[in-house]
């Protein structure tokens, strides 16, 4: 090497190197997002940590005898070690245990149901596959409380829960379901399991579909029986995907809020998330400790998942050489099996919609005769003359509903735009500089919001916003949503970019096509549907989001989902059902319109 390392020379070299480094768009993007994500994820996390030790204005002052703003260990001591009145057990340990029980059970249900359907669709000659595969993802697109509300309205009766009125089962069929069946552990776990089954279906089905058929054929040639092939070859190959599904569903169930609120609260069955929301009122310090616990669980699960999926790569062999998968013939069992599945899917995905429609038109609860029906709750006026509670107009004539719908749509659009675009940029930067420390950092940080349960995430943004006066209202909601949904978008962004060989872009670099034009004319058009999926998932999620926003909305009437919550809490069942149906329809319409127009789809986003 020529040795000319005089100090001035070295300065020129360093300057030149920095300039060269920054002239690469991928580097610039990574630097920008590294700073942004550090601010948007680590800063709120730190403020939340501080909240755990801070005395808040109000009840905490009198409880501790300290002034607001002072530091204390009281919250920890109170939450974890207060034997008096079984406080710790009721407030923390029992909800924790309930959370674990619900999450484990729902994960098992999701895998069993989703995995079985994935197997039937990809590996057998079952009938009605097309219907099954398109309807099966419905519950995942619909808000998670859909099934919970359906379950409650269908089975509730005057003997249990809040003992208000009879649901369809009791009033029409005269069947009074026992309390454990309608409220508490069993329905929560079942409903969450059914809601996340599509997740298992997408993940496991993806592996089954891409699995090299040669692996099974090799076993067939060696005269292995079908049944043995399934247990010795096929299942072991999808085992990592199953484990990964288990962990992801576990994490999601753990942070679920709306389902336990609807199906647990009436019988005082609490999980961490619902307890945390309750503690927020007056005992913020303890609530934030609970948030911390949930985040720790989330992080542990995701680390575990990384370990599992890390070894997954040895299994998935996508050769594309033998596309001919020999399908198992179901023979005589085919039609009955298919019919059972179709009926089950209709029950889970279609019947709830009809139930909500029905419940939104009956005047007196429990009476399903035609004379008891009215469209007042949708389009009625001057209702106060006829009803003793509720709004004075039907929801479609209520300006509050329209403004909330408008707000929700606007919020969803902004979050999708910000998260989706960031996702593409992050994907570009991460894929282009793959292997560098910077790329790994940004990749990990952009996934970080996924670790945090929605309710907890809302809570820490709440605590951050309390320190920043101009952060509130729409801006706060939009920021929270954008950051929270970034993982979905960056996932599809990275996937899309990794599928694209670097040469495709370099071929344009050589002829001097500027960066923005390479993105707009070459990279985006080629991976259009995957990139757009990165927009769709935040859009749909945001539209039906409750737990993320419930703590940070200015008023309950701001967005549709919190409005629904409020109506349901007030017991205005018909209005609530009408709004619920409205939300579900809007979400389904958005999803299928975008899907038809652009080819983007939810499962493309999840499939990573």
């Amino acid at each position: 090497m020529p040795s000319n390392a005089s100090p001035g020379n070295r300065l020129v070299r360093t300057g030149g190197r920095i300039r060269a480094w920054l002239s690469t768009p991928a580097n610039l993007i990574l630097l920008l997002f590294l700073i942004l994500l550090l601010v948007l994820t680590l800063y709120p996390l730190i403020t939340m940590l501080l909240e755990m030790f801070t005395v808040h204005i109000g009840r905490e002052e009198s409880l501790t005898g300290l002034n607001a703003g002072e530091m204390t260990l009281y919250h920890f001591q109170r939450l974890f070690a207060t034997a008096k009145n079984n406080y710790s057990r009721n407030q923390f340990w029992t909800p924790l245990l309930n959370t674990m029980a619900v999450s484990v059970t729902s994960s098992l249900i999701a895998i069993l149901f989703g995995g079985t359907v994935a197997f039937l669709v990809t590996r057998t000659d079952m009938k009605y596959k097309k219907f099954v595969s398109s309807v099966f993802v419905f519950p995942y697109i619909m808000p998670s409380w859909t099934l919970a509300l359906f379950w409650e309205t269908f089975f509730k009766n005057v003997n249990i829960g809040l003992k208000t009125s009879n649901g369809i089962m009791a009033s029409v069929f005269g069947v009074y379901a026992p309390e454990w069946f309608v409220y508490g552990f069993f329905p929560i776990a079942l409903v969450l399991g059914l809601h996340y089954a599509p997740f298992a279906y997408i993940l496991i089905g993806g592996i089954l579909r891409n699995m090299d058929a040669n692996l099974e054929e090799a076993a067939t040639i060696l005269k292995t029986r079908r049944f043995r092939i399934l247990f010795r070859i096929t299942l072991p190959i999808v085992r990592p995907a199953m484990l990964s599904t288990f962990l992801l569903v576990f994490a999601s169930s753990m942070s679920a809020y709306s389902v336990p609120v609807f199906l647990g609260s009436p019988v005082r069955y609490y999980v961490l998330s619902t307890k945390m929301k309750a503690l927020m009122d007056g005992t913020k310090g303890q609530a934030y400790i609970m948030v911390g616990v949930m985040i720790l669980f989330g992080a542990a699960i995701l680390l575990l998942n990384q370990k599992v999926t890390g070894s997954r790569k040895q299994f998935t062999t996508v050769t594309g050489k033998s596309g001919q998968i020999s399908r198992i013939r179901l023979g005589r069992a085919n039609r009955p099996l298919a019919l059972i599945l179709v009926i089950l899917l209709i029950l889970v995905a279609v019947v709830p919609l009809f139930t909500f429609a029905l419940e939104s038109v009956i005047v007196k609860a429990g009476d399903y005769s035609l004379s008891n029906m009215t469209l007042d709750f949708w389009i009625g006026q001057n209702l106060q003359e006829r009803l003793d509670q509720g709004d004075s107009t039907g929801i479609l004539l209520n300006p509050k509903v329209w403004s909330a719908l408008g707000f929700s749509l606007g919020l969803a659009a902004v979050c999708a735009l910000v998260a989706g675009t960031s996702g593409i940029l992050v994907g570009y930067g991460v894929a282009r500089r793959r292997g560098t420390r910077m790329s790994n950092w940004v990749n990990a940080l952009s996934f970080f919001p996924y670790l945090m349960p929605s309710l907890a995430f809302g809570a820490i943004y709440l605590s951050m916003s309390s320190r920043i006066p101009w952060l509130g209202g729409f801006l706060l909601l939009a920021l929270t949503g954008s950051v929270k949904y970034l993982p979905f978008a960056s996932r599809s962004g990275v996937n899309a970019m990794l599928q694209l060989s670097g040469e495709i872009e370099e071929a344009a670099v050589i002829t001097g096509v500027p960066w923005y034009k390479r993105m707009a004319r070459i990279i985006f058009p080629i991976q259009r549907s995957t990139f757009l999926s990165g927009y769709l998932l935040p859009l749909v999620s945001c539209m039906r989001e409750l737990s993320l926003f419930v703590l940070i909305v200015p008023t309950s009437n701001t967005i549709l989902t919190t409005m629904l919550m409020q109506y349901s809490e007030k017991g205005w069942a018909q209005f609530g059902n009408a709004i619920n149906l409205l939300i579900i329809l809007v979400v389904l319409i958005i999803n299928f319109t975008v899907n038809k127009l652009t080819g983007a789809s939810i499962d493309k986003g999840v499939g990573g």
Binding site: M1, P2, N4, N9, V12, R13, G15, G16, R17, R19, A20, S23, S501, E503, I504, E506, A507, A508, V509, I510, T511, G512, V513, K517, R521, I522, P525, I526
Partner: protein
């Protein structure tokens, strides 16, 4: 057309040194091949000259223009270097037709419409793909895609054309055909070609000069036939030629070599024979099967019609002979051998360097 100069170019990826202190001058109008086993740094070198990869150290000039200088912080972007690049998997844009693929780069250079139309038509004709202008890349065969990629690369009339294993995705027959076309193209376009391959036959047949690399180091830089007959080291000798050169372990007393039970006088034409353990290298075509000389046993015979490859056991060593014409020896037939020239001597103690060239006289 310009000359390309690399001065002390080094590229490190973290701790891994991909290219180590490489200096090289590529003559104007040359057809240079960067040859070596995978991971030797040849593609990295090509990408550094094109500007797709930033070197860690060194200086690169195209013509008398400095396009990269680590010491002065100069790094011209690829589009300012006036080069064309043909990628291994063609990198055709799948969402654009053949015509759009070729025209896209020209639109960026702000050529006017009429001029673009003229140039694209010209290229379509030149590469005989006129019929496909409205098709998308996925509707073309591998060979057609290759031609489109070449047309796209040639479109802006680059002074220098870089090619990264452009034929490796084609089947054997098409590869031979494209090889002759590339050579013709080099003449017709009158530009400098830099070509990366791991296929020694491609390097032999196409290039005016071959640059052979190993572990990021330049091992030899010479015209292909010279490299074939006068390789600088064991590595180069073993890499060039198929079937590869025979290497026989030999013991030297300064004049007489002993190998595989044979004693032979080495008659040097260049260099001096030292005493001790050496490696004797003889090309397969210089191992002649005759009716006199030392006796060898036929291990197997591979007739291919035009020529026949014979694997032989000579004492405790194995060697290969290539004989013109159609022969078929039964295994274990006894034959007699003569050794033609050149015979080469390599010294393992000097990293396999060639120390001597000459011929053998069997005693």
């Amino acid at each position: 057309m310009p000359e390309i100069t690399l001065q002390h170019v080094t590229k490190r990826f973290g701790r891994f040194v991909a290219v180590d202190d490489l200096s090289l001058v590529i003559d104007n109008n040359a057809f240079i091949t960067l040859l070596g086993p995978s991971g030797c740094g040849k593609t990295t070198t090509l990408r550094m000259i094109a500007g797709l990869e930033v070197p860690t150290e060194g200086r690169i000039l195209i013509g008398d223009r400095v396009v990269f200088d680590a010491d002065r912080g100069i790094n011209l972007s690829p589009d300012k270097r006036d080069v064309g690049f043909l990628f291994q998997n063609y990198a055709l844009w799948p969402h654009m037709t053949v015509w759009q693929n070729i025209a896209f780069g020209l639109e960026n250079l702000k050529w006017d419409k009429a001029r673009i139309r003229k140039r694209v038509t010209e290229l379509l004709e030149m590469l005989r793909i006129e019929d496909f202008e409205k098709r998308y890349p996925s509707e073309l065969s591998g060979g057609q895609q290759q031609r489109v990629a070449i047309a796209r690369t040639l479109a802006p009339n680059p002074q220098v054309l870089f090619m990264d294993e452009p034929l490796s995705n084609l089947d054997a027959k098409l590869r031979t055909e494209m090889r002759t076309e590339l050579k013709r193209l080099h003449r017709d376009t009158d530009s400098t070609f830099v070509y990366v391959t791991h296929d020694q036959l491609e390097a032999m047949t196409l290039s005016t000069r071959v640059c052979i690399m190993e572990d990021g180091h330049l091992r030899q830089y010479a015209p292909p036939l010279e490299m074939y007959s006068r390789p600088a080291s064991l590595f180069v000798a073993g890499f060039m030629g198929n079937p590869p050169m025979n290497f026989l372990e030999a013991e030297s007393d300064g004049q007489v070599l002993t190998f595989a039970g044979i004693r032979a006088r080495f008659l040097p034409r260049e260099g001096t024979v030292r005493t001790g353990k050496l490696v004797l290298g003889i090309r397969p075509e210089a191992v002649m099967i005759t009716d006199h000389g030392p006796e060898a046993r036929v291990w197997s015979t591979l007739p291919s019609g035009m020529e026949t490859t014979v694997r032989l056991r000579l004492g405790d060593q194995t060697l290969t002979s290539v004989v013109f014409g159609n022969l078929d020896y039964a295994p274990d037939t006894l034959v007699r051998l003569q050794f033609g020239s050149p015979a080469l001597l390599f010294d393992r103690e000097q990293e396999g360097a060639k120390i001597c060239e000459g011929s053998l006289e069997i005693l």
